[in-house]
């Protein structure tokens, strides 16, 4: 395919993966196959939503991150922190404690990403006023943007072309430091990310549009470091409170939660979270069954970013804490003082290009060939049993049929077809075992009492 491949941040640790079907079943784009007893992810189909990682019984998925020491490549080290980070700490731990520990860990500045929300909201409203196709879709969640690119390519035009608060905050903070006389190469801006999609979004930006960020730090990693830091100095008097940071108001605190954006857009606005719900709704939008909605806030995670794959805290508790905080700071509105002079500077830089459609569904670029392939798939489906058991290493019978047609699997990968072939003496029993081993790994059918749930589990 002509498209540049997606970078994706979710990886399989082959030493941990023992080859089961959980991830393959939950993957919303059907991007996972089992080969040689390990999960393998199809790069161009993966949208980095993190469902696989959430479903893995042995935690074999990991999310690539930059080495923490990379921050020391820079003299000025800025951490961009989203509100959900704060929401994970018990409420007796204050924001300033968290931020001061972050400074002790090596950051020279901490900035909360949602401070730029009001500017972003203005830009979104402006685009919404001029839009022809409805509903407009928020560009906030990078996993949703990718989902639309691969699965709903006809809707890419409806994605609002305004960058996320993180990128806007990075642009602002860099400019602010530059204006203070700091050379660009001394400024390192790092985002503390709740999700893999954001990492992938940063790394796969096309080369002529350099990311305003220098790196990403996984939220679970930093959370552990910060929590550890707070615990260890508890009781000690030598606190370094650092400069007091401006507080976020209720709109900003809630922005990354479900129904964070929708109340601030015009017309009929809906907020939908969890990727399967999002897919379901987009199917209807694409069929034009839904035409009288103006704006869609779509988030890949259940409970939006509070349910991000790198968020350690329970998502419902995180939401509860943030909502309480929002109520506490109900009188805070608008952007912080230091951001005000940069409002127009930012406004002029918030627009991003329409994401390119990259359909994963096309059987072949050539329609005649595509039709032939579809006919083959339908014919194969006459023979496959329709059990969708995934024992072939594909998530369901139809995926196997497509894989066969695309020459990535064989009909004999289906264990039921194997039985039939054995019965008709077309396949030797030993050969059948070899086929299974090719999918599920060598010696997979041997007795093993150390596997999960078995007699000597874990030994």
């Amino acid at each position: 395919m002509a498209y540049e491949q997606f970078y994706h941040a979710i990886k399989v640790d082959e030493s941990l993966c023992y080859g089961c079907t959980h991830c393959m079943y939950v993957c919303p784009t059907g991007a996972i196959r089992i080969r040689n007893g390990k999960a393998s992810i199809r790069k161009e189909w993966c949208v980095d939503c993190g469902e696989c990682k959430k479903s893995c019984p042995v935690d074999a998925f990991y999310i690539e991150q930059d080495d923490f020491d990379k921050i020391y490549d820079f003299k000025y080290r800025v951490a961009l922190v989203p509100a959900v980070m704060i929401g994970q700490f018990p409420s007796n731990i204050s924001e300033s404690e968290i931020f001061s520990v972050m400074r002790e860990l090596g950051f020279t500045h901490v900035f909360q990403t949602e401070h730029t929300v009001d500017v972003i909201n203005d830009a979104m409203l402006l685009q919404a006023r001029m839009a022809e196709d409805k509903p407009l879709i928020s560009s906030f969640c990078p996993a949703v943007v990718r989902l639309i690119q691969v699965k709903f390519p006809s809707l890419t035009d409806q994605i609002i072309r305004v960058m996320s608060p993180v990128d806007a905050s990075a642009i602002f903070f860099r400019k602010k430091l530059q204006d203070a006389g700091i050379p660009d190469e001394e400024i390192g801006i790092f985002y503390v990310t709740p999700c893999a999609a954001k990492i992938a979004g940063i790394k796969s930006q096309v080369s002529d549009r350099k990311s305003p960020l220098n790196g990403v730090i996984n939220m679970d990693f930093l959370y552990n470091k910060v929590y550890h830091g707070i615990k260890n100095r508890a009781g000690r008097s030598s606190r370094s409170p650092g400069e007091n940071l401006p507080n976020l108001g209720p709109k900003h605190i809630s922005w990354s939660l479900t129904n964070g954006e929708a109340p601030y857009m015009k017309g009929r606005c809906l907020a939908i979270d969890e990727i399967h719900n999002v897919i379901d709704f987009l199917e209807r939008v694409e069929s034009e069954e839904i035409t009288d909605v103006d704006f869609l806030e779509l988030r890949a995670c259940d409970e939006s970013c509070a349910g991000g794959v790198l968020v350690v805290g329970n998502r419902f508790l995180t939401v509860e804490r943030l909502r309480k905080r929002a109520a506490l700071f109900k009188d805070i509105h608008g952007i912080p003082e230091d951001l005000e002079p940069y409002h127009d500077y930012l406004m002029n830089r918030l627009t991003i290009p329409t994401p390119e459609p990259r359909s994963m569904l096309v059987l072949d670029e050539d329609r005649a060939v595509a039709i032939r392939k579809m006919q083959q798939v339908r014919k194969l489906m006459c023979y496959l049993p329709g059990i969708d058991c995934a024992a072939c290493g594909a998530p369901n019978c139809e995926s196997l049929a497509r894989d066969i047609v695309q020459k990535e699997a064989q009909l004999s990968s289906c264990i039921f077809i194997q039985r039939t072939m054995e019965k008709h003496k077309k396949l030797h029993g030993d050969h059948a075992i070899r086929i299974i081993e090719k999918t599920w790994g060598k010696d997979r059918l041997d007795k093993d009492c150390t596997k999960l749930g078995a007699k000597d589990e874990g030994t």
Partner: protein, 140 residues
């Protein structure tokens, strides 16, 4: 190279299932690398046709024929039929019941939209027997 045939059943009165044929066809056309705008037109026309069977007839079925160049769709129903087709084709004409309007249908735009979104549109109807709509759209 041959053509592909697909068949879908439509149940009168069941609005929750209206749209299943059009989303299935949408899925097929996406796999065949058909331009998104053309898919949209086909899907809109088919969806309106499905809804008409659900809203106005007792039951029906849809036959879809796809080859390299075009998609042909026949929507065949058993139902009351349409006494005056020219009138039914007018924008805004509707006999939809209050209950149907309640659900957001009944603007009298379905048939005109089907005609507008297809390259070829034919409708036949026999009162007391049923209605057949045939539409074709070129795929490139």
């Amino acid at each position: 190279m041959g053509a592909m045939e697909f068949r879908y059943e439509v149940e009168g009165g069941n609005f929750s299932k209206a749209g299943h044929a059009s989303s299935a066809v949408k899925k097929i056309l996406k796999q065949l690398n058909v331009d998104a705008r053309i898919i949209k037109r086909v899907v809109v026309a088919l969806y309106e046709g499905e809804v008409n069977v659900v809203a106005h007839a007792h039951k029906g079925h849809i036959l879809v024929n796809i080859n390299e160049d075009e998609i042909g769709i026949s929507i065949i129903d058993q139902g009351p039929g349409i006494p005056d087709i020219d009138l039914a084709m007018q924008e805004g004409f509707s006999t939809a019941s209050a209950a149907v309007r309640e659900m957001g249908f009944g603007a009298g735009m379905g048939l005109p939209n089907m005609k507008k979104n297809t390259d070829n549109f034919e409708i036949e109807s026999q009162v007391g027997v049923g209605t057949t709509v045939r539409m074709t759209t070129r795929l490139s």
